[in-house]
């Protein structure tokens, strides 16, 4: 088991390095297509003359061979490096240095560290809500297939999947913030600073995001439960004289959960960096908001940094799913 985990983690490192190479390359090739000096995407303005541009590019190291540039970048991630935009004194960018935003004059890592807790708060809270809601509605719908609950539940689920967050989000705000005044003064603070304020700020974004996913998971759970509840081992469980609750949860849901674990891992990981709309609607300064701002101001180091972090999240989630899978389904072997 330990060996399996180590091997999977080593695989994840390899994949992460590959992803970083590909990402890095794309961001290098991009400027050659737009015919704009890559230096522009770093500092936002370039000298008017060709010689000035050349000098600037030289300072950034854009005239070096691409493998050398990647190596310098990777070296920065691992050990930190000095960055220099040619106008100020060289600045120390500590490891893990994912780049330096010359527009905001902060290391990208610093920006990401600020934004990550917000996004993780959003993702974890929403995930808990949608798992509980989706599994519960899906299970009950499956057990009472064709009932009013099932029909209403599944119709709502279909509606929820098709309602975008930029609709449900403002609706929630309108109701609970502006109309009912139940949730006012919504400003994000860390959970360690003020848990109540944290909860108060996050609850609406959670609901908005969870609503979308819960619908999907309800349908998925329903389909899986319908399948497992007709399995022979469910009949065996009933033939033993087990209570209905035990038959449904311990034997039925337990088996139906396996495919859901896989999908959940990927869904959860891909939230890192893709909760743009939720964060924008609820004015949360998370990774999504950070990246959308970076895209608008063409701040390439931030975009590159967020992309890599999001990729690492997905790779890590895959490892976690693989490991969880061996726990969830003992038939999956470690070798």
């Amino acid at each position: 088991m330990i060996r399996y985990i180590i091997r999977r983690l080593m695989g994840a490192v390899v994949v992460t390095v590959l992803v970083s190479i590909v990402t890095f390359l794309i961001f290098q090739i991009g400027p050659t297509i737009t015919k704009v000096s890559p230096a522009y995407y770093y500092v936002g303005k370039v000298p008017p003359d060709a010689a000035g541009i050349k000098a600037l590019e030289h300072r950034f190291g854009f005239d070096l061979p691409i493998p050398q540039q990647y190596w310098n970048w990777l070296h920065g991630v691992l050990f930190g490096r000095m960055v220099d935009d040619g106008t100020n004194a060289p600045i120390k960018c500590a490891a893990p240095c994912l780049g330096y935003s010359f527009r905001q004059h902060v290391p990208v890592t610093h920006l990401i560290w600020q934004a990550l807790p917000v996004t993780i708060s959003l993702a974890v809270g929403a995930a808990v809500l949608w798992l509980i809601g989706g599994l519960a509605v899906g299970t009950i719908s499956a057990l009472r297939k064709g009932s009013i609950f099932d029909r209403v539940g599944m119709t709502l689920a279909l509606a929820a999947v098709s309602l975008p967050i930029f609709f449900t989000g403002p609706l929630l705000l309108l109701l609970f913030n502006y109309k009912l005044h139940w949730l006012t003064n919504l400003n994000y603070v860390g959970i360690t600073q003020d848990p109540v304020q944290w909860l108060k700020t996050m609850i609406l974004p959670w609901i908005a995001l969870a609503f979308l996913f819960a619908a999907l998971y309800a349908r998925l759970t329903r389909a899986n439960m319908l399948e497992t509840m007709s399995e022979d081992y469910i009949r065996t469980a009933r033939a033993k004289g087990l209570s209905r609750r035990k038959v449904v949860i311990k034997h039925g849901l337990r088996a139906a959960l396996t495919p859901i674990v896989t999908i959940f891992g990927i869904d959860f990981a891909s939230l890192i960096g893709t909760t743009v709309i939720t964060e924008t609607v609820f004015n949360l300064r998370g990774l999504g908001k950070l990246s959308i701002q970076a895209i608008q101001s063409q701040d390439l180091p931030i975009i590159l940094g967020v992309t890599i972090v999001a990729a690492i999240a997905v790779v890590l989630a895959n490892v976690v799913v693989d490991i969880l899978y061996t726990v969830v389904d003992p038939r999956v072997s470690y070798s």
């Binding site: 022979d232 081992y233 065996t236 033939a239 033993k240 004289g241 209570s243 209905r244 088996a255 038939r331």
Partner: protein, 355 residues
Amino acid sequence: MAQDITAEQGPDSSAYLSVRDLRVHFPTGDGLVKSVDGLSFDVERGKILGIVGESGSGKSVTSQAILGLHKGSQAQITGEIWLDGQELVGASEDKMRTLRGDKMAMIFQDPLSAMHPFYKIGPQIAEAYLVHNKVSKSAAKKRVIEMLDRVGIPNPDKRYNDYPHQFSGGMRQRAMIAMALVCDPKLLIADEPTTALDVTVQAQILELMKDLQREFNSAIILITHDLGVVAETCDSVVVMYGGQCVETGAVDDIFYHPEMPYAWGLLTSMPRMDRTRQERLLPIPGQPPSLIQVPRGCVFNPRCQFKDRVGGDSCTTVRPDLLPTPGGSAGHKVRCHIHPDERARIFTDEIQPSL
């Protein structure tokens, strides 16, 4: 509709299980599926009853009705099922739950799919013991290891922690038997227990079941389509066709003096090593009946080669009753319009030579 003559009798006091005029009907979009339609039989402690018939004849539906596994589904069940003096058809699901696994247990056809793939074998069996017995987990484990040992699983204390996929097919079926017997039930229903197994393992499993039955003095219902298995293990037989019992009797009656054309067909289509080899086996022509539109008259009439031996059209219009055979042994009953003398003649002249 014709009534079974047994339908009016109360439960036989000597029988541990008495089924009376059992009907299991499933409403579907296409119509009412009459899976079991007026079935009656008795099983005593220490006896093995075989229920034979082809797929869709209502064998498994019957067994699941006895365990009350249709409760909560769409199935419409009427008739009576008496288990040790308790009536089960009208019993509540809660009542049935206390009986299931404790007083009556079931062994299923495919032990791989009948066991939960995600739980270890030992705890799965212990679960069955713990529902019905207020004992500690360690006591349950001890009991399970004893049972695993009893059904012939080597190193039961180690195999306790194996998953079903780590067992061989025969071992899994042994574990299923241990699961069924862990609460010492007095009625054991085995639904095609050997169908999914190798022939060599089949014999071992049947031998084991016979041993355990002698040891625990339980009543067993053995559901199978394998007449060889029936001949080897059962005391009496119910031959089912289209949801009805078409012939019943002691095992020797069915094998040596069968009277119903369907039973003849089953016997002539069975490969036998103890008789002269024939060129080929004789299949029963035609298809099993639709359970939605059960044939009028005798259920077997569309496939019966001997209905011209009955004067008139009663075969296609009148449902024959399950009647005792004149001069036959006690309990031998047949549902057929052909005159008993004519049946005896057909059997000796036309059927017996080809067996």
